[in-house]
């Protein structure tokens, strides 16, 4: 936890200041009796003295020193914060764990209880308790805890529910561990982080609640409370505004500090939030040049030269695509294969310039359908508009993996298609829109009756078909399919790959199929590019890749692949781990895992070697597999 906090502090200045404020308050609270302060209750000074050298923050209507009272007030504020949030968190952890872990009727009863208590407006219950039982600070703290614990309980329950299905918890159970062992050793320790985060928010809330009560005159009169000071100051607002200004400021600063720490912890705990905050500086666009637009059919459908994309991640640059070049003829099909993290999906997004916000194109030229859309990593503009913006979906579209929520969950698929159609055909009549959508649905074999369905009402295969229909809406010349069948069952996958293949031939589409599955690419594409650690290490016609690969990585991948056809053979594993993109190995990136590597491989980046028609490899020693 403390390491986490330290990491969080480093990343944000506001958080550091907040921790400092809380520490200072804690020191003041502890040391208050020993500091050279005036007695906070002594009515000795001149009443209503404005702030000055003698009384830094002035005196109140009884002649008490406000600065001393504020320092003493931190004691109460922190006590209330700590005691009530500790009780609430503890109660929440216990009840939430029980509800989440045992589930069934226990959970049904408990979580209904949390829900009911969560609806009770806590301030009014506290108000009632204090009004009935008297203004003792102990009652106040217990009352605050009793109205806030369901919050922690709900968080804990959700945590336990998610942790319960974690493999290590199941594994402990399967190994014979008792419920107690599982809960105490695995679930609770891994689940309390968000409770601690929320506790800081609860602390702020508790301080404000106590102050509010005191402001209504229900505070404990035996202790110095900032809320009570404001209550007293209210009547002297005209005469002595400092009586209310300073205690209020103290409240604001301390509560804000707690809230900011809660925010910071939250951010440190959730890598997703951190990723959201990461952002690359956009590069300036460039204007189109005369040669940027080639009409006619001699230009390839897609041409990429030296394309490089980097992500800004925790202050480091991660080059996911590094100097990738290839070209795709009209009507051609290219498969891009590689393992997770090799940069294949980033490459797809880079071609359409729809990368994550923390990604930047560092260099490279891309032209689509004869028009240059990227020059030296800069967006090409014509007449003040990005050229790519006019080509998206009309010239080039992309099919995302449907399991990844590529369709909007709160809109019917029919409406999503209609809006996409209207965007590029604003003048279309309703009949034209409906007609075109019906056409693409028929093309893919989706019953038109599914138009009013929401994505969640469709099966995985059907959702993927809707995505394909969407991509064909404006009859683009080029379709990029990014893992279009991952997460689908084998039979459905086969059908969809078949449909994509079929459409490509019938509509003379150019296709880029990005996949981790060598087999899927083998059957759908004429050429295959193999990516490793951000680079295309080999590109060749499909048959050459599968029967005469020259790069050791391609060969190793194929040797590691189990098959159902052909003779059963022993699988050969590739030693080592995938290369890091943050610190790629010197020389050839595959060299640490390559059985063929020599000294030169470890020191010098390999050349791109042409090995035959449309076949080249990034290797010092390309060639057929040798027995080792």
């Amino acid at each position: 936890m403390s390491a986490l906090l330290l990491a969080a502090i480093r990343s944000r200045a506001a958080l550091g200041a907040s921790v400092a404020v809380i520490l200072l308050a804690a020191v003041l609270a502890v040391l208050a009796p020993y500091l050279p302060l005036a007695d906070p209750d002594a009515m000795i000074a001149v009443p209503y003295s404005p702030p000055g050298a003698e009384h830094w923050l002035g005196t109140d209507n009884f002649g008490r020193d406000i600065f001393a009272r504020i320092v003493w007030g931190t004691r109460l504020a922190l006590t209330v914060a700590i005691v009530s949030s500790a009780i609430a968190s503890l109660l929440g952890i216990v009840m939430g764990s029980i509800a989440g872990y045992f589930g069934g009727p226990v959970d049904a009863v408990l979580s209904r209880t949390f829900d009911v208590f969560l609806l009770i407006p806590s301030f009014f219950l506290v108000l009632l308790i204090v009004a009935l039982f008297g203004s003792h600070i102990g009652y106040t703290m217990v009352a605050i805890a009793l109205t806030t614990w369901p919050r922690s309980a709900r968080i804990m329950r959700a945590q336990v529910l998610s942790l319960k299905s974690r493999v290590y918890v199941q594994a402990a159970r399967a190994a014979g561990a008792s419920h107690t062992h599982t809960l105490v050793r695995h679930i609770v320790p891994n689940g309390i982080a968000p409770i601690v985060t929320d506790a800081t928010i609860l602390m702020g809330l508790a301080i404000l609640t106590e102050a509010g009560l005191s402001f209504l005159g229900l505070g404990d009169q035996n202790v110095v409370s900032w809320g009570r000071m404001i209550f007293e100051g209210q009547r002297q607002l005209r005469l002595a505004p400092w009586m209310s200004i300073f205690p209020g400021l103290s409240l604001l600063v301390l509560v804000a500090a707690f809230n900011l720490v809660g925010d910071g912890l939250n951010q440190a705990l959730s890598p997703q939030l951190r990723r959201l905050a990461a952002r690359a500086t956009p590069r300036k666009p460039v204007a189109a040049e005369p040669g940027d637009s080639v009409t006619g059919t001699d230009a390839p459908m897609l041409e990429a030269r030296g394309l490089t994309l980097a992500y800004a991640l925790d202050g480091k640059m991660l080059r996911a695509v590094d100097g990738v070049s290839f070209s795709l003829p009209r009507g051609g099909s290219l498969g891009i294969v590689g393992e997770s993290g090799c940069g294949k999906s980033s490459l797809g997004a880079a071609l359409l310039q729809v990368m994550a916000p923390n990604a930047t194109l560092e260099s490279g030229d891309v032209s689509i359908d004869g028009r240059t859309v990227l020059r030296d990593g800069r967006v090409v503009q014509a007449n003040g508009r990005d050229v790519i913006a006019d080509m998206r979906w009309t010239s080039v579209s992309i099919i995302f993996q449907s399991a990844m929520n590529a369709l909007n969950p709160v809109m019917t698929v029919g409406r999503q298609l209609a809006e996409a159609y209207r965007l590029h055909k604003p003048a279309a009549t309703q009949a034209q829109v409906d007609g075109r959508i019906a056409e693409v649905f028929d093309l893919i074999g989706i019953p038109r009756s599914r138009l009013p369905a929401y994505p969640h009402e469709l099966s995985g295969g059907m959702r993927q078909r809707v995505m394909i229909a969407l991509s064909l809406l404006h009859s683009p010349g080029l379709v990029i399919a990014d893992e279009p069948t991952t997460a689908l069952d084998v039979l459905v996958q086969d059908q969809i790959l078949g449909e994509i293949d079929d459409l490509r031939r019938r509509m003379r589409l150019s296709l880029i199929l990005i996949s981790h599955d060598m087999g899927a690419v083998a059957e759908t594409c004429e050429r295959v590019a193999v990516m490793y650690a951000g680079e295309i290490v080999e590109i060749a016609p499909t048959d050459v890749i599968f029967e005469g690969a020259s790069h050791p990585y391609t060969q190793a991948l194929l040797a590691a692949l189990p098959t159902v056809t052909g003779p059963r053979r022993e699988l050969v594993s590739i030693p080592g781990e995938t290369a890091s993109l943050v610190n790629p190995p010197a020389g050839c990136r595959f060299s640490p895992r390559c059985t063929r590597a020599q000294d030169v491989c470890r020191s010098t980046p390999p050349p791109r070697v042409a090995l035959g028609p449309a076949h080249d490899a990034l290797c010092h020693f390309p060639g057929p597999e040798r027995a080792s």
Partner: protein
């Protein structure tokens, strides 16, 4: 749909029951005689006798609870011993003023807060985002009653441009446009105080919701289709981000009502808050108990409404 609605309305019952039972238990657990708690320290013996009879205080415990449940269930929240008026009537007479204050402030803070939050979420981590986010935290960390006092100090005491007390001027117009303008003028400061604090909440909420939606794959899809950023933000992201905003809106109504009570106290606004404050000063327990029940039922009802809105916004919620 009707079935869903019925089921949801049915879920109000346990909350109401729990609140009433809590009320009952607290009164019985509180130090001192129950009849005195309910009738006030200075009640004469005759009134004490009436109260004892009314709540059946000489009957067995469970019967008392039953009687209390039936009474409250039929809308009888007891009698204020300060005004000798039924608590229910007292509360209802104050609802319009509070509703005006809370309603106005809620609409402004939700709309403005959501828009501002969405706006800064376009570039999470930018200077604009960081500073507005930090400001939002500062805003909702403010004690609303203190903020109210500071506004009074600035606009009523120093600048003397706005009224600081009550809902209308003593000598102001009684009806017509003049009356409306007068009330509107009196509303400015309390609404400003209440709005400022909850505005911060909604900025933060909508910022994180929009930022999260903007990183979803279907947003990448619409980007690839070619929709301009503005359309994506306002048409796609904001709509989906409204879901968490709506949820929290329901859950946090309790906090808003708390703020309203404290704000009314500062500005002598003649609403529920002022009623509660006066009841505290006079130790008028029936009013405080009644207010607790009224506030709880209101919050439960509001959460029901937000559930319905959520169901309308999100087709994934099954209406069964």
């Amino acid at each position: 749909m009707r079935r869903y609605l019925l089921l949801r309305v049915f879920q109000l019952v346990p909350v109401t029951l729990v609140v009433i039972v809590l009320n009952f238990l607290l009164v019985h657990l509180a130090p001192g005689d129950v009849s005195i708690v309910l009738a006030g320290d200075n009640a004469d013996p005759a009134y004490l006798a009436i109260i004892r009879e009314r709540y059946g205080l000489d009957r067995p415990f469970l019967e008392q609870l039953w009687r209390y449940l039936v009474q409250v269930g039929s809308g009888d929240l007891g009698v204020s011993f300060r005004s000798r008026e039924p608590v229910f009537a007292e509360i209802m007479s104050r609802v319009p003023a509070t509703l005006l204050l809370v309603g106005t402030s809620l609409v402004i803070s939700v709309v403005l807060g959501t828009l501002v939050g969405a706006w800064i979420a376009r570039r999470p981590g930018s200077a604009l985002d960081s500073s507005v986010s930090a400001l939002a935290v500062a805003l909702f960390s403010m004690p609303v009653f203190w903020l109210g006092l500071m506004l009074v100090l600035l606009f009523a005491v120093e600048l003397q441009v706005l009224p600081a007390m009550g809902m209308a001027s003593v000598d102001g117009p009684r009806d017509g446009v003049g009356r409306v303008l007068d009330v509107a003028q009196h509303m400015i400061l309390p609404v400003l105080a209440l709005t400022t604090v909850s505005f911060g909440q909604y900025v933060r909420l909508s910022r994180s919701a929009v930022a999260e939606v903007m990183s979803e794959s279907y947003i990448t899809t619409v980007r690839a289709i070619g929709f301009p950023e503005r359309t994506i933000l306002m048409h796609y992201a904001l709509r989906n981000a409204l879901l968490p905003v709506v949820t929290v809106l329901g859950l946090q109504l309790g906090l808003v009502l708390t703020g309203a009570v404290l704000t009314e106290t500062v500005f002598s606004w003649p609403g529920l808050g002022r009623l509660i404050y006066d009841a505290i000063l006079a130790r008028d327990t029936p009013i405080i108990m009644g207010a607790f029940i009224a506030m709880s039922v209101t919050v439960a009802f509001a959460s029901l409404l937000t559930d319905l809105v959520y169901a309308a916004l999100d087709p994934r919620v099954k209406l069964t």
